[in-house]
Amino acid sequence: MLTSYVPIFIFIVIAAAFAAFTIVFARLVSAQKPNAIKLEPYECGIEAAGDARDRYSIRYYLIAMLFVIFDVETVFMFPWAVSLGKLAVFGLIEMLLFLFILVVGYFYAWRKGALEWQL
């Protein structure tokens, strides 16, 4: 029943409205006296060395890719987990097969050092 999601939606709207309202309200009631120095990004009292919008290496990107794969796997496990009672042993074996393939990939990634991003 999709109607049961309506309260969640109402809840999100209330929360977002509450947050937005308080932020705007605070802006209205508080003193705003910006100046150039206040509007500098914080860098320990020193003028920033370069911009923060550069292209930086994110060393763990390989894990991030693995994460996407494994996250999909996790989502796949939810329906299986709910209906395990009906699928019975057949379901378990199917899942073992499915997991086996993933585990091989997991260990391959591990051996290849994808999980050792910090080195």
């Binding site: 860098e43 320990c44 020193i46 060395a49 370069g50 292209r55 930086y56 290496s57 994110i58 060393r59």
Partner: protein, 366 residues
């Protein structure tokens, strides 16, 4: 794949964990430090030059302001250097009390180090525990000389004040309190898995490199070099006491931590022996009314809480002020290792390593 740039980030001078106004310019690859530049001088007050324009007796007060969390050690180093220059014999009672003060100071300084070091690694509670005990030491100092931070507690030839009645009893009580408290710190940290993972193998510096860089104090002993001025060139009354010099093996942050923790216990041991054998007698030796050392120069070092604190003083024998005054501050020399230690580590380790070197910027910049 893609070209990525280094992230250059200023850590300090206004940063919660650079222990004052140290500025470290980090060049990062992701969060890994690939290079760094340590910038100092934000707290430079010209202490050495200032001392060349002050009476010999006034300088004691200026030395307080260098390592301001270990003022008594600074005083001790200075007065002993002048005594050496003037060949003054210091009475035994004064030397004993000086030793007690210096060791209390070591405990106070290590409390501050432990608190901030643990806080840098995220253990906030240890910070408050350590400061609680440091407060007791400050109370003792307050009772002795009236000041809690910058004591001006010594003078050339001896001490300005004898210990107040009952003070030795209170120091003894403090020693009884501190022992279990150190065990308490250890319970929170020493065998904590997270603490071990954050400190073991982080910032390793082998013994010979530590010597080459010029480290001293706990960072040197953490690398397994048993160098301690108290043992090697005894001053004050250290020759008369029995104590051990803890040393580490791996030279990592954890070993430096263990060395300092053990130094708490050794300090307590020294204080207890000094109190047991505290001799009667005068607290001031034969000192001329006007201190004017003969022409000459000398270097004298003591083991301050942070390492070897040396004074080089030259006198021309004519004026009332030193001709040349130079300090070898342990923090400054230890700080030289920082760039090397943090290379290849993550930003989180940088703060751990700054804490592990135990620097005080008042002393680095002078």
């Amino acid at each position: 794949m893609f070209d990525t740039n280094e992230l250059v980030i200023n850590m300090g001078p206004q940063h919660p964990s650079t222990h004052g106004v140290l500025r470290v310019i980090l060049r990062l690859d992701g969060e890994r430090v690939i290079g760094s530049d340590v910038v100092i001088g934000y707290l430079h007050r010209g202490v050495e030059k200032l001392c060349e324009h002050r009476d010999w007796a006034q300088i004691v007060l200026i030395t307080d302001r260098m390592d301001y969390v270990a003022a008594a050690s600074n005083n001790l180093g200075y007065v002993e250097t002048v005594e050496k220059l003037m060949s003054i014999e210091v009475p035994r009672r004064a030397r004993y009390i000086r030793t007690i003060l210096a060791e209390l100071q070591r405990i106070a300084s290590h409390c501050l180090w432990l608190g901030t070091h643990a806080m840098d690694i995220g253990a906030m509670t240890v910070f408050l525990y350590a400061f609680r005990e440091r407060e007791l030491v400050l109370d003792l100092f307050e009772e002795y000389c009236g000041a809690r931070l910058t004591y001006n507690a010594m003078r050339v030839g001896g001490l300005p004040l004898d210990i107040p009645p009952g003070w030795d009893r209170k120091v003894r009580d403090f020693c009884d309190i501190l022992g279990p408290k150190v065990d308490e710190y250890e319970q929170l940290l020493t065998h904590n898995r997270i603490w071990l993972e954050r400190t073991r193998g982080v910032g390793v510096i082998p013994g010979e490199d530590a010597v080459a860089i010029g480290l001293s104090g706990p960072p040197l002993r953490g690398s397994g070099i048993p160098r301690d001025v108290r043992k090697d060139e005894p001053y004050a009354a250290y020759a008369e006491f029995d104590f051990d010099i803890p040393i580490g093996a791996a030279g990592d942050t954890y070993d430096r931590y263990l060395v300092r923790i053990e130094e708490f216990r050794q300090s307590v041991r020294i204080i207890r022996q000094a109190l047991d054998g505290l001799p009667e007698g005068p607290i001031l030796g034969k000192v001329p009314r006007l201190i004017k050392p003969p022409a000459g120069e000398t270097y004298h070092a003591i083991e301050a809480p942070k390492g070897e604190l040396g004074y080089f003083i030259a006198s021309d024998g004519k004026s009332n002020t030193p001709y040349r005054f130079r300090v070898r501050p342990p923090s400054f020399c230890n700080l030289q290792a920082l760039s090397r230690l943090i290379k290849g580590h993550l930003v989180a380790d940088v703060v751990a390593l700054i804490g592990s070197l135990d620097i005080v910027l008042g002393e680095v910049d002078r």
